[in-house]
């Protein structure tokens, strides 16, 4: 995607990605974590990280004025992860309904590029559906095309 992204640090198993958000509230360490649910199925977790404890807080609000850059960086992490795990489905659900809507807006705004690489499903009205930019979803599943 041709959007500004932060440089990403990846663990050598490609299941953890760290980056630094920079803005009016300072430099904030963020982590994207892919945790296995079942073989071939991973949960995408994302949030601010306490550098002392290593704990990720997925409810933290940093208000650093860089939401679009953060979303593009999380997307880069998904791109890199799925290069190394091309069969994996990635399950994404925001920690709050507002964050799920934020993910949805990010997918919608970049759909023309996302659909080139990913098969995307959204959960709505009790079942999984092929992602439609006009739809509203509670969660998402993506896998490489």
């Amino acid at each position: 995607m041709n959007l500004p992204q932060y440089p990403l640090l990846a663990s050598n198993d490609f299941k953890q990605f760290d980056f630094i958000s920079e803005g009016p509230n300072g430099r904030i360490l963020k982590t994207v974590l892919f945790t296995p649910i079942e073989p071939g199925l991973y949960n995408l977790g994302f949030g601010d990280r306490d550098p002392e404890t290593g704990d990720i807080d997925d409810l933290a609000v940093s208000n650093n004025g860089d939401t679009a850059t953060i979303l593009a960086t999380v997307a880069l992490a998904v791109m890199e992860f799925t290069i190394h795990f091309p069969q994996a489905w990635v399950y994404a659900k925001g920690s709050t309904p507002a964050r799920t809507r934020l993910y949805q807006r990010g997918i919608r705004q970049n759909w023309s590029q996302i659909e080139l690489f990913f098969y995307v499903r959204g959960f709505a009205s009790g079942r999984w559906r092929k992602f439609d930019a006009s739809g509203n979803y509670e969660a998402f599943l993506v896998v490489r095309n």
Binding site: L8, F17, I37, G40, L41, D58, E80, Q87, Y119
Partner: protein, 65 residues
């Protein structure tokens, strides 16, 4: 929350420019609240697997052939 610099010992290969692979990246873990949300989300997903879940199994099988 202010971040501290991440110190890396060794860099290895990645696929995208802008992705730097770090051998000793400090390990992160979900906070207790986040872990609970992950488990709830995972349970929800396992109870609501997509109808075309077999698509994954087929892709996986093909990759092993």
């Amino acid at each position: 929350m202010k971040a501290q610099p991440i110190r890396a010992k060794k860099l290895v290969h990645s696929h995208h420019p802008g992705v730097i692979v770090v051998e000793n990246l400090p390990k992160a873990k979900p906070s207790p609240g986040m872990q609970a949300r992950i488990e709830a989300a995972n349970n929800f997903l396992l109870e609501n697997l997509p109808e075309d879940w077999a698509f994954l199994e087929e892709k996986d099988r093909q990759s092993k052939d």
